[in-house]
């Protein structure tokens, strides 16, 4: 049998993943309305509901394992108002009973606010959220539950600072089925997190490569477009590097002995970077041409910078025009434009405040560059950018405290339900969850 697609469009299944097809499926999903419009038996309704929910909640977990995990006890909390508790000792609830002063509750529509419901049934899959792999996914360290599972299996996850959990039953790594306990801290290797959540790199041998099918396949076209975008960003980075070098060169004329060493070095660096981009990135022909031209033109500039009578402003100007040509007419972002403006303007025309802001901006850029450098050895697009279609999936449940800088999180407590909100993230409405809960009660 042909295996079904994981993110199919024909028979859509909602998954724990950040895939764009999944987003589309969630966006267009309708309430299954099980048991309202057909004549299914109760058993059939429950069967269908649990099937739907299991495609989302841990579809990689064997049903029998989940059945053992399932617990009919649903944890809930009630917010206790300190002021109210201080004013009353509880006897006010019984005061007046029997003497006719108490108000009988009215269950008409207006007073029964749906917000005041405690959605216990949405907690059906709460025990699943205890699993290490699912917690890693919920903490946004992996782009899907299956990827999170892989991270656990490959030893990229630590629990309480340990790679090995030694138990009575000897286990090597924090296995994906490890059930977190309140207070457990888990850490994921930051490199893996950056890989999982960053924009993926298209390898030159990728079948999606736009070279052959460019005209027909829009996916490929889009990939091309994206690569072009990333390429322009590379260039803007080149310009940022350019902007960084400016103070050296523009300061130079004031000093009598002109030291061209830094400029030479920077030109060399720029050329090397351009070469690196040319070799590793799939670029459009025009971009390739532009880069080659830049490398070619940078050579005489380099030799001129080496001469003793070279004027630094001239060289800077020429370099900036070269870099501006490299922009290829694509709308440069603020980084690029600021860089260009600085390099073409002579130092004298800038006021003090402008200079200061410029320096600040430069420092910012340098910091950014330091934190998020261009590094071709990484398996993701550098400088790092979040992957596409990530934002609509971005939420962190309250039972986790996540520290993104160190890719670590603490499992504070088990997920609970409170008035108007359940902490278990599920894309299905409450009716479906209720049927599934009834299925797992095993009275069928």
């Amino acid at each position: 049998m042909k295996p079904r697609r994981f993110h199919g469009l024909q028979r859509p299944k909602l998954r724990q993943s950040w895939n764009k097809y999944n987003l589309y499926n969630i966006a267009r999903a309708r309430d299954p309305r099980i048991g309202t419009d057909d004549i299914a038996t109760f058993f059939q309704q429950k069967w269908r509901a649990k099937g739907l929910l299991r495609t989302y909640h841990g579809e990689h977990i064997v049903e029998r394992k989940w059945e053992r995990m399932f617990n009919r006890r649903l944890l809930s909390v009630v917010d206790m108002d300190t002021k109210y508790m201080a004013q009353n000792d509880g006897s006010e609830l019984a005061a007046g009973r029997g003497s006719g002063t108490d108000q009988p509750p009215r269950w008409d529509r207006k007073s029964a606010n749906p917000r005041s419901v405690t959605p216990y049934m949405q907690m059906t899959f709460a025990p699943m959220e205890r699993r290490l792999d699912i917690a890693v996914f919920r903490a946004m360290f992996a782009s899907s539950a299956r990827q999170a599972r892989q991270f656990c299996v490959h030893g990229a996850v630590k629990v309480n600072g340990k790679v090995r959990i030694l138990t009575r039953y000897y286990r090597q790594v924090p296995y994906p089925a490890y059930r977190l306990n309140p207070g457990d801290m888990f850490q994921v290797d930051p490199e893996r997190v950056l890989y999982a959540t960053g924009l993926p790199k298209l390898s030159p041998k990728d079948p999606k490569q736009p070279s052959t099918l460019a005209g027909e396949d829009e996916v490929a076209e889009e990939a091309l477009e994206e690569e072009a975008e990333s390429a322009t960003e590379e260039e803007s980075e080149v310009q940022a590097a350019k902007a960084e070098q400016d103070p050296d060169t523009t300061d130079a004329p004031e000093a009598a002995p002109v030291n061209m060493k830094p400029t030479r070095k920077q030109i060399q660096d720029l050329t090397a970077q351009a070469k690196a981009i040319l070799s590793e990135k799939p670029l459009s022909p025009a971009q390739k041409k532009g880069l080659r031209k830049f490398i070619q033109n940078a050579k005489p500039l380099l030799s001129r910078a080496g001469r003793p009578n070279a004027s630094p402003t001239e060289i800077t100007d020429e370099l900036s025009t070269l870099v501006a040509e490299l922009d290829l007419g694509v709308g440069g972002d603020d980084k690029a434009s600021s860089g260009g403006a600085v390099s073409s303007d002579p130092m004298a025309s800038l006021s003090d405040s402008e200079l200061k802001s410029l320096e600040e901006r430069m420092e910012e850029l340098m910091d950014e560059e330091e934190d998020n450098p261009h590094d071709p050895s990484k398996p993701y697009v550098t400088p790092w950018r979040p992957r596409n279609y990530m934002a609509p999936f971005a939420f962190i449940p309250q039972y986790l405290e996540v520290h993104q800088n160190i890719c670590s999180a603490v499992y504070l407590r088990h997920p609970v339900v409170r008035k108007g909100a359940a902490e278990v993230p599920t894309p299905y409405p409450i009716g479906t969850s209720q049927l599934a809960f009834n299925w797992y009660l095993r009275r069928r």
Partner: protein, 116 residues
């Protein structure tokens, strides 16, 4: 019948765990003993948040009962002997790390060798 203090293996495959038991010598290893006086976890473990690489083994033992059973003639097996000797309940049997002192020969033997 001889009463022994010995280990009874429990746990699972590749994860041994022992009860320290007092039992008749000819009864089966895991049969119900006269008394369980402790446990022995042979897998060395590290302390949490300790990176020194130093490992420890956990043993639970009722030393008072052990002394009593030794006092009434129970015979520990070698492994249990080793554990009990660590607590000073038994004299160490093997692996005496102290430098060996040659036994003093009887005084009469020396002149016999020297004479004629």
């Amino acid at each position: 019948m001889v009463v022994k203090i010995r280990l009874a293996r429990f746990g699972r495959k590749n994860s041994p765990f022992y009860n320290v038991v007092v039992a008749h010598a000819r009864t089966a290893r895991n049969s119900k003993p006269l008394e369980v006086i402790g446990t022995y976890d042979p897998i060395p473990r590290a302390d949490p948040y300790d990176d020194s690489g130093r490992l420890h083994k956990d043993i639970k033992l009722d030393a008072i009962r052990a002394r009593y059973w030794i006092g009434v003639g129970a015979q520990p097996t070698d492994t249990v002997w080793r554990l009990l000797s660590m607590l000073g309940i038994m004299e160490p049997k093997y692996r005496n790390t102290e430098p060996r002192i040659p036994p003093v020969l009887p005084r009469e033997a020396l002149p016999q060798q020297n004479s004629p």
